[in-house]
Symmetry: C2
Subunit: 370 residues, 2 copies
Amino acid sequence: MTFQPLHFDGLSRTGRLTTAHGVIDTPMFMPVGTQATVKGLTPDQLRSIGTQILLGNTYHLTLRPGDELIAELGGLHKFMNWSGPILTDSGGFQVFSLAEVRKITDAGASFKSHIDGRLLDLTPEKAVHIQENLGSDIAMVLDECPPGKATPEVLRGAVRRTLLWAERCRKAHSRADQLLFAIVQGGTDLALRGECARELVDLDFPGYALGGFSVGEGPEAMHTALEPCATLLPTEKPRYLMGVGRPQDLLAGVAAGIDLFDCVMPTRNGRNAVAFTNDGPIRLRNACHRRDPAPVESDCLCETCRNYSRAYLHHLFAAEEMLGPILLSLHNLAFYLRLMADSRQAIARGQFRDFRAECVARWDRRSPAE
Amino acid sequence: MTFQPLHFDGLSRTGRLTTAHGVIDTPMFMPVGTQATVKGLTPDQLRSIGTQILLGNTYHLTLRPGDELIAELGGLHKFMNWSGPILTDSGGFQVFSLAEVRKITDAGASFKSHIDGRLLDLTPEKAVHIQENLGSDIAMVLDECPPGKATPEVLRGAVRRTLLWAERCRKAHSRADQLLFAIVQGGTDLALRGECARELVDLDFPGYALGGFSVGEGPEAMHTALEPCATLLPTEKPRYLMGVGRPQDLLAGVAAGIDLFDCVMPTRNGRNAVAFTNDGPIRLRNACHRRDPAPVESDCLCETCRNYSRAYLHHLFAAEEMLGPILLSLHNLAFYLRLMADSRQAIARGQFRDFRAECVARWDRRSPAE
């Protein structure tokens, strides 16, 4: 059995997701390793904070160093020295957001590489082939992710194409050691989401993702849409909310029954000297931290909080030393992973609703970091 | 006993240097942690490759974050989470090389900070006071380090002032848990070096450094001068060759009876994608490494060589990922530390001369990386 739900608490649930490279406790956050590395961190450091699964970006990896090269060198796990599970996206999202799209038809997308301007194309079959070359444990279907402010017509077109492509991805997919997840699009149009979900569920994928929320219409609209969207998906299959988000968004996702998350926010904020804490985000560049002997969080067990003061981190960022981004990326990921571990525990005890309310109340005392 | 020579092999020797934060096996290389961090590496990573002592730069630390602040936070060891020995320089070398020197008299040097243009001064007493604030295990006297092409008159003046300042540093020094080392100047004028050494030896410092060679007249002149210069110093005291250098320079130093070394070359070259190997330096950015599944060095036990291919490192540098500089700095330091460990073993076996000749012959097959 690929996914086994363990405890339910309202719509929230804990579970175990089994992949070729290991088991994942859900709900779980996946640190983002876009270019075959989580920026600045070694696999040992990632393991030390409880990382169970990484995300790799198909678009970046196929452009550089190339999926054929990675396959030749034994696959992405070996290439980046990560022996645990890896999920790869389909590359579609980055083609639409980073590359210059030249043409998009039912056949696929043509685009110009943001690295060297090469003209390339991505089809459903190619997205699957690349991910099979990478050898990830979980691959994603190619989808069309329309902008957050898309017209109903554009949204509908994206759903039609996403369904078409999902079916072609399924047919093209051949690796027995890789799970292929489908993606539900439809923006905040619940009828459209429902239509998309129903058709995908009929195709019986081993897991389902909700796409389009990271480019969506803001946190409130998302929080409202999450519950009805998640309920469209089968209880016995894992659910993945793509590219989202802030700690409060993760808890909204868990409340709605989501199992997997990814976001660049912990590492990106870490590189920019912003730390996530139980009392909300803090900016280590601020002068108030210059002489502060306290750790970022006194009850955090990560390497950063066990060994370094805010004063030291303030100094590292002032001196533009690499160790600043390294230590703070590590802490922020530890914070996200702990949030998921605490959520799992709260669900198991039937107290997730209270847990979420307490967290959000504490964070809301401060303004958000973004 | 602070320093205990263990084995002799010609002029080379092994020994044990005891400090307040631990014992150092000599000959030993000290990774440079200029701004209270060895660029990109955690203390755990440094320990994993056998680092026994770090170097900190007084000039940088007094400008930012300030030695008073570091003292208030419990000293440099605690600030940077390094529990082993630390040596700090006096700041003089950086004042002459990085800052804009406004005036230099027997009293001290006035200079403009390279960070914010503040006007500051450094006197022998201040150099000692700062290092006592930092709490390093080994402090260095303030010296005047003249440029490599200095006239005999300038060299002589620098030696006179270095002696004057050494005596004042000694008087100002008060920490019983900190060793104060003197510095011999005099360029490649052996008579002048001898004069300087004799006067310093009369003052009976617990250790002696040879200064001025890192700005000297090139490796040949240095290799020739090292032996007569080292022999000027007492056998029973540790000898430190400041700021030098390439692997072949370290071996020339060990041959002459030097015990301690420091240099930014392993970390700086690592950040620039140049790796030290037993077959000479290699440039990981070169296209020939693009598909190479081999590690940087197949017989190296560092984290980098145990886990990653040259192809992966090539990719990290091409993608400008932080992990490239991190992993290659780690390997290069491991290479330097292994070179010292192998030297100690060769000395203990009475085979250092052969060991050095074999190393240099292997490296000479390739052109140097600088």
